[in-house]
């Protein structure tokens, strides 16, 4: 085996992923070849450097948080079911949507050909007029048919006028996306009613008719991604704010097919109103799990809250040695030892203990505000050091900083209680 062959297999060599014979061959080569030996040593060292990277502990509340989300999802299957309908129900809805759009397209655009026909007829008439002047004999007779045809054309238009005039009911659909959204949002106050009073809703007439279409269509839009939750929020939020009751998927199928029929011009789209409230209930329920905050695990999530504190302390609790070692226990043992604990500290220890308990329960840092007389601040800090590690202590960065020592008012002290870093020494095996 030559050097380049050996070097190309050094990784496997170090991983013991070679047969005995090859290992022996390479070992012999390495003993003899210093260049390859250096390569092998460097490679082994690189592997070792990665190997000895220390193992870290996940946040103490990791499992709790994960399970909280899991249980939340487990408890609301109906919301997801409503959103991600089983396929057998979805296809009819897709079909309905497609038919809807095509019907609308036909009716809306029907107007144009008719108008064009009208114009053509008129221009022909004008031309014939011209011809007439040139040729008097054909005039009158020619005119009448032309006129008739024009009138009949007009009559045709008239009969289809009801159709076209009702088209504006659906015309809002043709507007840009923004307008569509406005359509949804503006009738919302009108639609924010219990599903039971369908009569009132019916009286709302045309604009709301457009609104139910879009949520439904948009709902069917993300149908392709059943699994990805991230596609859900935008269309669902469109229908937010509307109130309504629940509906079974089968009911929905029936309604959707009925919807197609009722949208044929001439019939007001009554039955759709009951559907929108359903969409709304889904969106309300669904938007909660979807809005679940992502960064809940960040240990330093206690962010830029406006604190009206004169002084801020950040405490890192020491890890519990016993199960429920409370502040009181520590306090008593300390008292026995040092007798340096002041009455002021005793006064506040229950607040501190409460914060500690809350922090352990929620896994989040807790903030408490205490009032400490200026002169006792240092002693208070010494007392705190007995039960927790003071990570930082700072006077608030305000104008009053200079005047702090002058005023005789007690200090407003903000104390942030942090959970202990779990098992810092030693951490390795559990």
């Amino acid at each position: 085996m030559n050097c380049s062959e050996v070097q190309s297999r050094l990784s496997e060599y170090h991983d013991n992923f070679l047969d005995a014979e090859t290992i022996e061959t390479i070992t012999d080569h390495l003993l003899a070849c210093s260049r390859c030996r250096t390569e092998a040593d460097d490679l082994a060292q690189t592997m070792q450097l990665v190997k000895v990277l220390p193992e870290v502990e996940p946040p103490a509340s990791f499992t709790t948080r994960v399970m909280a989300h899991v249980r939340e999802q487990a408890a609301k299957p109906s919301a997801w079911e409503r959103l991600f309908l089983p396929f057998r129900v979805k296809f009819p809805i897709h079909a309905a949507a497609v038919i809807l759009v095509s019907i609308l397209a036909v009716y809306v655009y029907q107007k144009e050909p008719q108008q064009q026909a009208l114009k053509i007829a008129e221009s022909e008439l004008l031309r014939k007029d011209q011809d007439e002047r040139d040729d008097p004999s054909t005039g009158l007779r020619a005119r009448i048919p032309a006129k008739e045809s024009l009138e009949s054309a007009r009559q045709n238009e008239a009969t289809s006028a009801p159709v076209i005039e009702q088209a504006p009911e659906y015309a809002p659909k043709r507007r840009s996306g923004e307008d569509k959204k406005k359509d949804i949002t503006t009738p919302q106050p009108a639609l924010s009613i219990p599903a039971g009073s369908a009569d009132q809703v019916r009286q709302q007439s045309s604009p709301p008719a457009a609104a139910p279409l879009t949520p439904r269509e948009e709902k069917s839009a993300p149908s392709g991604d059943i699994v990805t939750s991230k596609n859900v929020p935008p269309p669902v939020k469109e229908a937010e704010g509307q109130v309504g009751g629940a509906a079974a998927p089968s009911e929905r199928t029936a309604k959707s097919t009925r919807d197609v029929e009722t949208l044929i011009p001439g019939a007001p789209a009554k039955k759709e109103f009951s559907k929108t409230p359903q969409t709304a209930s889904i969106s309300e329920q669904a938007s909660e799990p979807l809005a679940a905050p992502q960064r809940v695990l960040a240990p330093k999530s206690e962010s830029a809250k406006q604190s009206a504190a004169d002084y801020e302390l950040v405490l890192r609790l020491r890890p519990d040695t016993g199960e429920k070692a409370g502040l009181e226990d520590r306090l008593e043992s300390r008292e026995a030892q040092t007798e340096a604990v002041t009455s002021l500290f005793r006064e506040h220890k229950s607040a501190l203990d409460q914060a500690r308990r809350r922090a352990n329960q929620t896994g989040q840092p807790q903030a408490i505000w205490l009032s400490i007389p200026r002169t006792q601040l240092e002693q208070f800090k010494r007392d705190l050091a007995a039960i927790a590690q003071i990570e930082s202590a700072s006077a608030a960065d305000t104008q009053e900083k200079d005047e702090v020592s002058k005023s005789s008012d007690p200090l407003r002290v903000k104390i942030t209680v942090l959970l202990p870093l779990s098992e810092p020494f030693p951490p390795r095996q559990r």
Binding site: S8, L10, S11, E12, D15, F17, D42, L43, Q45, T46, M47, Q48, L49, V50, K51, V52, L53, P54, E55, V56, E57, P58, P59, F62, T63, R65, V66, M67, H69, V70, R71, Q73, A74, V227, S229, Q294, R295, L297, A298, P299, K300, L421, P424, F425, P426, P427, R428, R430
Partner: protein
């Protein structure tokens, strides 16, 4: 140890296997998932942590990994190892995040507050050197291609066997070998200037 399948076992973490947990979970027993989380959280967290170089990001992504696993548990078939399947989800999530982080900002190197002190070197000077070394290694890892970093971490950090790595990355074993070798060489080139001739413990 496999408990008899007809009896319902108590949720003692050590007694119940991954496969059993998944079966229960697929039947609707949410508590079974907690066993899985507790069992795998450390390894998954550490893999993600070393791939991202940041504790907070790791916490966020690791949580997403488990939630993603929960949501798609119905698609997990018993033919693969649950651990392998979970690793695959973790690799996907962490790689995606790593790529977007690389674009967004310079990735931080983990600071010493979360890295525990190795008690084999109680000497303070050694401790300092140790931190320096870890800093350098993680920095170098951060600059590798995501695929290279992933494969090194799987093999060298977590001792995943070659064939399992192949399943996780959905490539043949031969590819694992060559990719691993190249990745280690790249890392070696980055680290040798600092560690050239020294003999590390």
């Amino acid at each position: 140890m496999q408990p008899p399948s007809n009896q319902s076992e108590p949720m003692v973490p050590d007694a119940i296997s991954d496969g059993e947990c998944v079966q229960r979970l697929q039947k609707g027993d949410t508590d079974a998932f907690e066993v899985l989380v507790r069992r795998h959280q450390k390894t998954i967290f550490n893999l993600v942590y070393r791939m991202l170089g940041d504790y907070d990001d790791a916490a966020e992504i690791a949580q997403e990994v488990f939630l993603s696993a929960y949501r798609s548990i119905a698609q997990f078939r018993g033919d693969a190892n649950f651990s392998t399947w979970l690793y695959r989800i973790a690799i996907n999530h962490a790689s995606t995040r790593r790529k977007s982080l690389a674009k967004a900002k310079e990735r931080r190197v983990p600071l010493d507050s979360t890295d525990p002190v190795d008690h084999r070197h109680p000497n303070p000077l050694d401790a300092v050197m140790q931190k320096e070394i870890r800093y350098r290694v993680q920095s170098a890892l951060n600059t590798l291609d995501p695929d290279e970093a992933t494969i090194i971490l799987l093999r060298d950090l977590q001792d995943v066997p070659y064939d399992e790595v192949a399943k996780m990355l959905d490539v043949p074993v031969g590819t694992v070998k060559s990719r691993l070798h190249r990745a280690r060489q790249t890392l070696k080139a980055k680290l040798t200037p600092f560690f050239g001739e020294r003999n590390l413990p």
